[in-house]
């Protein structure tokens, strides 16, 4: 166990390993996304209540689910980097933030687009939607803080502190938004609840969720590799790789 963690902490090893991983992940992700999208868009039957607009679910839900998971990945990496000072951890954190922000934005935008035909409004202040919006701000905060620092080592430290503070807060934020929503008890709206979803619609959804997880892993790895190449441009192992020794 420890040896694996130590290996992961070693840039040369990670660089090689992630190179292999990326070469496999890239085609797999693209294939999964294409199959899932075609299945969801063209093959699956329409929902009996919402008609065809429900097809947005195949991007909306995966984006939302992965965005949520992404914050925990980021915060965990931040904690590891702060406590154990493992450099790879803060590179992970930094690589995850923009991807998470994009996925959150996608969940928000597709949700808004879905809302128009379904509720007749682009936006409502539902508990889950509001939490998602706040998550978006949290992601943006990490990205913006990182960009604002000129010294990137310091930037990584600062982001680690921020994402940790954010993580401690996330359960509180979620709970409070839930209470807020249930207290005000809006009469008019209701998200499609736990309606039993037909398996003909479920399989493409599960496929897309898997595809988005792969996509998340892929983009995080790519961002990390970009970061590594630049950070270690002076070190011999990378020069050797580049020089073709």
């Amino acid at each position: 166990m420890w040896t694996i963690i130590h290996k992961m902490g070693s840039p040369p090893w990670f660089f090689r390993f992630s190179g292999t991983l990326v070469r496999w992940l890239l085609p797999i992700t693209i294939a999964l996304l294409l199959v899932g999208a075609v299945w969801g868009l063209l093959v699956a039957p329409p929902d009996f209540r919402q008609g065809n607009s429900y097809r947005i679910i195949y991007i909306h839900v995966p984006a939302a689910v992965v965005a949520l998971a992404g914050y925990y990945v980021m915060a965990l990496a931040g904690a590891v980097s702060l406590i154990w000072r493992i450099k790879m951890a803060d590179i992970t954190m930094r690589a995850a933030a923009p991807v998470g922000a994009v996925l959150t934005a996608i969940a928000l935008v597709t949700g808004a687009i879905w809302g128009k035909p379904t509720w007749g409004a682009w936006w409502v202040w539902d508990a889950r939607i509001t939490s998602m919006l706040i998550l978006f701000f949290l992601y943006l905060g990490v990205v913006a803080l990182f960009e604002a620092y000129e010294n990137k080592t310091a930037a990584a430290r600062a982001c680690a502190v921020l994402s940790l503070v954010g993580t401690v807060n996330i359960p509180i934020i979620y709970k409070s938004v839930d209470w807020w929503y249930s207290l005000h008890q809006p009469a008019s709206l209701k998200l499609t609840g736990e309606s039993a979803i037909d398996s003909s619609m479920l399989y493409p959804l599960l496929l897309m969720i898997l595809a988005f997880y792969c996509l998340f892993a892929l983009t995080v790895l790519l961002n990390m590799r970009a970061e590594l190449v630049w950070a270690h441009r002076e070190s011999s192992w990378l020069k050797q790789l580049a020089g073709g020794a």
């Binding site: 070469r23 909306h60 991807v99 994009v102 996608i106 035909p117 996509l215 190449v229 630049w230 020069k239």
Partner: protein, 68 residues
């Protein structure tokens, strides 16, 4: 295939505009999040190779180890 024709697929009983818009607004940023780091890696890699060529002009080119 659920739809009978291309235009039915495009129209989706009036919801087409929403569905296609949503997919487009997803596809573009996702493509960018994959493409931008790849571009950056390639740039950095080219810089590194140039640097190596300056240091050791004799070294021959090899496979693209950038991984993408």
């Amino acid at each position: 295939m659920y739809f009978e024709s291309l235009s039915a697929m495009w129209h989706m009983d009036g919801h087409g505009i929403y569905v296609w818009l949503a997919y487009a607004l997803t596809a573009i940023p996702l493509a960018l999040t994959v493409w931008l780091p790849i571009k950056r890696i390639r740039q950095h890699w080219r810089w590194l190779e140039a640097e190596q060529r300056r240091v050791a002009p004799a070294a021959s080119r090899t496979v693209n180890e950038a991984g993408v």
